[in-house]
């Protein structure tokens, strides 16, 4: 999981029924992370080039130019980590 530690500052899990994971990339490496992810995932839609709606390995998620991402409908944190490791490697 080395790449996750390299790029990710925090993972916030939201409460309630709508279980989202909000991934916050390290400030100094966020641009690199965003570029990597945009290269790997498929862009479905972009809003003002601020929000990108992406798909990767049958999962859809949203990436923000400010270096944050929201993942939904994941089984658990380990699934998130697996995805992140693939996206950032």
């Amino acid at each position: 999981m080395g790449v996750i530690e390299d790029y990710v500052a925090r993972i916030e899990e939201t409460c309630g029924e709508e279980k989202d994971f909000i991934v916050i990339f390290k400030y100094e490496r966020k641009d690199e992370a965003v570029t990597k992810i945009l290269r790997k995932a498929k862009i479905k839609k972009s809003i003002s080039r601020i929000i990108f709606e992406l798909t990767f390995q049958n999962f859809s998620f949203r990436l923000y130019g400010t270096g944050k991402a929201i993942f939904r409908n994941l089984k658990d944190k380990s699934e998130l980590k697996r995805l992140l490791a693939n996206l950032l490697s």
Partner: protein, 408 residues
């Protein structure tokens, strides 16, 4: 009051986020701190720091005086009879837990009822649900109307002679709805029930007079009213505090701990109010910071704070309705609420909205705001929430609406 002048006192408001001027609309979660508060804390640690009470040296006396003055200042601010009715705690959450465990644990039993509302913050639900597992009483929930206002009829129907304590927020942290506390207090007292008011969202935003409201307990947090985190207040009527058992045990809260050589046990007598409820070394500089915050608000005048927020809320509600995909939850009438506006944008989750705004330097909160039952009532998975304070301006609302238009 002049918000532009007030802004000069808040160093953080000069910050840029993602190259945009910071617009801080997350005041219901916590407020920013003026330099008067920052300086008071700084001055305390630079010149007066010592432990309080029972110290004979100069610094200890200075620190004790400041800490006691802070209690006095808070008492005056909410029109309590004296500082003996003001217990410093960590925040609203701890204040409510104090009532649950120092009053409820000893006074509630099977057959009794605790009445709360569906608009409660989790901090006014969980302590009672937890305690009911020990004491076996029932926690009842009074319903709210579809617009988020309290259903007073349901409240009246739910209250009975079994009700021992009624708990409600004066202002909802989700919708900003202001409840008619006086009306509830009257109903509760007619049934011989105590009333605990969660003032986390009211004390910072409107004039609150505990004598006029006749509440038995009032809980609030310093950090939501310009003060530091980790300091909050439980107000309680003196005779109730006197009849209560302590919450935490330790130093400061006792007068004597004498060891009986025959029984080989200690007999303990409690300290005077409010220290009986403040075990251990308290958050002294937190108290000092809170005193500076209270003085700052007193200088502005709480009536002016209320009017400014009402103006901002009315303006924001009007401007937000220009948006096509927006849905504003709760009442749209600024006169019945405080400066909190929950909303959603079709097709986007509340977190998406918050992250989009963050890109432009606008800080709002998203999620359930620790009030899941109310979101369930509204059939919402979450909501975005903008909340205002004394340093916010109409221009900031214009910018906020401009960014929301871009999202649409």
């Amino acid at each position: 009051m002049d918000p532009y002048k007030i802004r000069e006192d808040f160093p953080i408001l000069k910050r840029k986020i993602n190259n945009n001027p910071l617009i801080y609309f997350d005041n219901a979660a916590t407020t920013q701190k003026p330099k008067q508060v920052i300086d008071a804390i700084n001055e305390f640690y630079r010149n007066h720091n010592a432990n309080v009470h029972r110290g004979v040296h100069t610094l200890s006396q200075e620190a004790s005086e400041l800490y006691e003055d802070a209690h006095e200042e808070v008492a005056k601010f909410i029109n309590a009879d004296s500082m003996e009715e003001i217990v410093f705690v960590r925040g609203t959450t701890e204040a409510i837990n104090l009532v649950a465990y120092a009053w409820g644990l000893w006074n509630l039993k099977k057959g009794d009822e605790v009445l709360v509302t569906l608009m409660e913050h989790h901090s006014n639900i969980v302590p009672w649900e937890l305690l009911s597992r020990i004491n076996g009483f029932k926690v009842k929930y009074a319903d709210v109307n579809d617009d988020g206002t309290l259903n007073y009829e349901a409240f009246e129907n739910a209250i009975s002679n079994k009700t021992r304590i009624v708990c409600l927020p004066q202002v909802s942290n989700v919708t900003g709805v202001v409840n008619d506390v006086k009306k509830i207090v009257k109903m509760a007292h007619e049934h011989d029930s105590l009333v605990l008011v969660d003032g986390a969202q009211s004390v910072p935003h409107l004039p609150v007079d505990v004598k006029d409201l006749d509440v038995d307990f009032l809980a609030f947090s310093g950090h939501k009213m310009l003060g530091p985190t980790g300091i909050g207040v439980l107000y309680a009527k003196r005779e109730i505090l006197e009849s209560m058992e302590p919450f935490h045990g330790g130093g400061e809260m006792i007068k004597d701990v004498t060891f009986n050589t025959v029984t080989r046990r200690c007999s303990i007598s409690w300290n005077d109010l409010p220290w009986k409820f403040e075990a251990g070394t308290p958050h002294i500089c937190g108290g000092v910071g809170l005193m500076a915050a209270v003085r700052y608000l007193e200088n502005i005048g709480m009536e002016n704070v209320r009017l400014h927020e009402k103006m901002l809320t009315g303006y924001a509600l009007r401007r937000m309705q220009e948006l096509e995909k927006i849905k504003i939850y709760g009442p749209r009438d600024a006169s019945s609420k405080c400066g909190i506006i929950p909303f959603g944008i079709a097709g986007l989750s509340s977190h998406d909205v918050a992250l989009f705004l963050d890109h432009y330097g606008v800080m709002i909160r998203s999620g359930l705001h620790c009030a899941q039952p109310l979101h369930e009532k509204f059939k919402l998975k979450s909501s975005a929430r903008a909340s205002f304070y004394i340093y916010n301006t109409r221009e900031e609302i214009d910018r906020f609406v401009e960014v929301l238009k871009e999202i649409e």
